[in-house]
Each structure stands twice: as C-alpha cells, then as structure tokens.
C-alpha cells in the first residue's frame, strides 16, 4: 500500500471514528425517540467503519484509534465540532459529510488494492442508508433558516474534507458556491476535550488487556 493511500485511509478512519463519537452524544437525547434509535445506529456504524479501516492499516487497531497524541489524528475539523444540543447544525454536518464521504468512497472503490476496494464497497453499501437518512432530513429542513445558516457555516469545512480534485464536484452536487476551505491538519477548539474523553479509559490503565 503506497503512502498516499495509507494517508487517505487514515484520514477516512479518523473522520469516521470522531464523527461516530460526536453523533453518539445524541444517544438518549435526540429530538424524538425513533430518531434517537436511528441516529445512534448510524453513529455506531461509523465507528464500525473506522475499526475496519484501522484494521487494514495496522495489526493493532485499538492502538491506532486511541493511543496517538491529539496532534497526530488526521480527522477534519468538521467532525470535531461539538453541536449538542443544536440539532440543525448536527443535521447540516451529516448532510455535508455524507456528500463528501460518498465522493471519497467512490475513489477508494476504484483502488488497485483489492482489500481497499472491497472494504470501500462494503462500507458504501451501509452508507447508502446514511445518505437516505441525510437526504430525508435535508428535504424536511431545507426551508428552515437555522438549517440553512448551519449549512453555510459548515460548508467550508466540508469542502476541506475531500481531496482538492473532488472539491468542484462536491460543490456542484450540493449546489453550493465554491468557498475558501477549512483544511485538514488543523484541529478545532473542541478537539482536545473530545480526545481526552475518548481515550480516558485506555490511558487509565496503560497496556491493559481487557
């Protein structure tokens, strides 16, 4: 596996892990019960995708997921932002993320590495339901000012989430103007606290076998 593919897989895995973590913050407090179940399930799927991707990269997926220093994570600032209890921004992030993730997965599915292409196809089959979920919420909230403001606010982050050659396509699919992207490589102000909580059990007993 070449370094470019490794980096892309690591970015994708980190995005999925951290977004899964953020979305799991809605478990038990979503606006309606049915959505609580659906949203929690999607969050769990994303963490499952991260796990499978880390396993392609390393014998020890847990170490990759939890034992790196905060600055070493390659996730986009988009997935790090904490939105609870703001449902409009949470949905806007899901809609933007799913569109970006679809483009990224499409490229990974074309990989010459059969393991990478196979896993991307498998993940994409599950993402189809996430996209359906995002689409129905987008339809429902499209005229809601809070949702529209949230899309505008988060769009530069989503644009920076995908590779440069996919950015024009992403803008056209989302019917949004091209803007200055928030690039990957910097972290959001919400990140250190998230990392701290996400790794607290691993760090509590270093090297333990559970």
């Amino acid at each position: 596996m070449n370094e470019r593919v490794r980096q892309l897989l690591l970015q994708t895995a980190d995005d999925e892990l951290v977004l899964g973590w953020r979305d799991s913050e809605w478990t038990g407090i979503a606006p309606v019960l049915e959505e609580d179940v659906a949203f929690s399930s999607i969050a769990q799927n994303e963490i499952g995708h991260a796990r499978a991707l880390y396993q392609l990269l390393s014998e020890d997926a847990d170490a990759l997921a939890f034992d790196r220093a905060p600055a070493e994570y390659r996730c986009s600032p988009l997935v790090e932002l904490r939105f609870v209890p703001d449902w409009a921004r949470t949905i806007a992030r899901r809609v933007l993320y799913e569109a970006a993730d679809e483009l990224r997965l499409a490229a990974l599915k074309e990989s010459a590495d059969a393991a990478v292409a196979g896993l991307a196809a498998k993940i994409d089959r599950e993402e189809a339901y996430h996209r359906m979920h995002a689409e129905m919420w987008r339809e429902r909230l499209r005229d809601e000012p809070r949702y529209r403001d949230a899309v505008e606010e988060l769009w530069p982050y989503a644009r920076g989430l995908v590779d440069e050659e996919q950015r024009a396509e992403l803008a056209s699919r989302l019917e949004l103007e091209e803007v200055e992207p928030v690039e990957r490589g910097t972290h959001a102000g919400d990140w250190p606290a998230l990392w701290d909580e996400m790794t607290v059990v691993r760090r509590s007993v270093p090297g333990a076998a559970w």
Binding site: L33, E34, V37, A38, Y129, M132, E139, R140
Partner: protein, 96 residues
Amino acid sequence: MIYEVFRRERKGVAFEHAGSLAAPDEAFARAYAHEQYGRRGESVALWVVPRRSILEVEDFVDELNRNYHRVDGYSLKAKLKEARERAGTAAPAADS
C-alpha cells in the same frame, strides 16, 4: 403519524406484525422501520402501513347465540363420540 410495521422473517413465510413507530412522513417511516425492524438481519422485507389505512373490524356480536356458525361451536369430536355411544361401538384403535 403512527405507522404499523409488518416484517417477513425469511423468504416464503407470511408477514407478521412487528410493532409500530411514529414518523412525520413516509420517507422517515421507511428509514425508521429499516433501523428498528431490519438492521440486525431479522427481516428480509417490511410492510410499513399508516395506522389510519388499516380497516379494523371487531364487532362480533352473537345475540342469538348461533354457535353453530362459529368454528369453535360445533365439535365433530363430541358428536362422533355421542354417535358411537348410541351405536354401541368403540372408537377404532389408533394403530388399526
């Protein structure tokens, strides 16, 4: 709005009532049914029906007690036993 969900466990078997869910429209109902009655591989197909589309029939009055109309009102087994007793013949042995 409330939707009733029926699920088919595997190909060839009948749909059975699985439960209900609340959703604002059909798209949400479809997605929520998928999540709640299908994501663990427990169903191969679902029917998602608005509760108000279900015609409910529950008035089964029988003022004149015409129990011979009912499937449980006419026991062939009991009648046969009486007839055999009148005729003085025993029931044939099970293995004959």
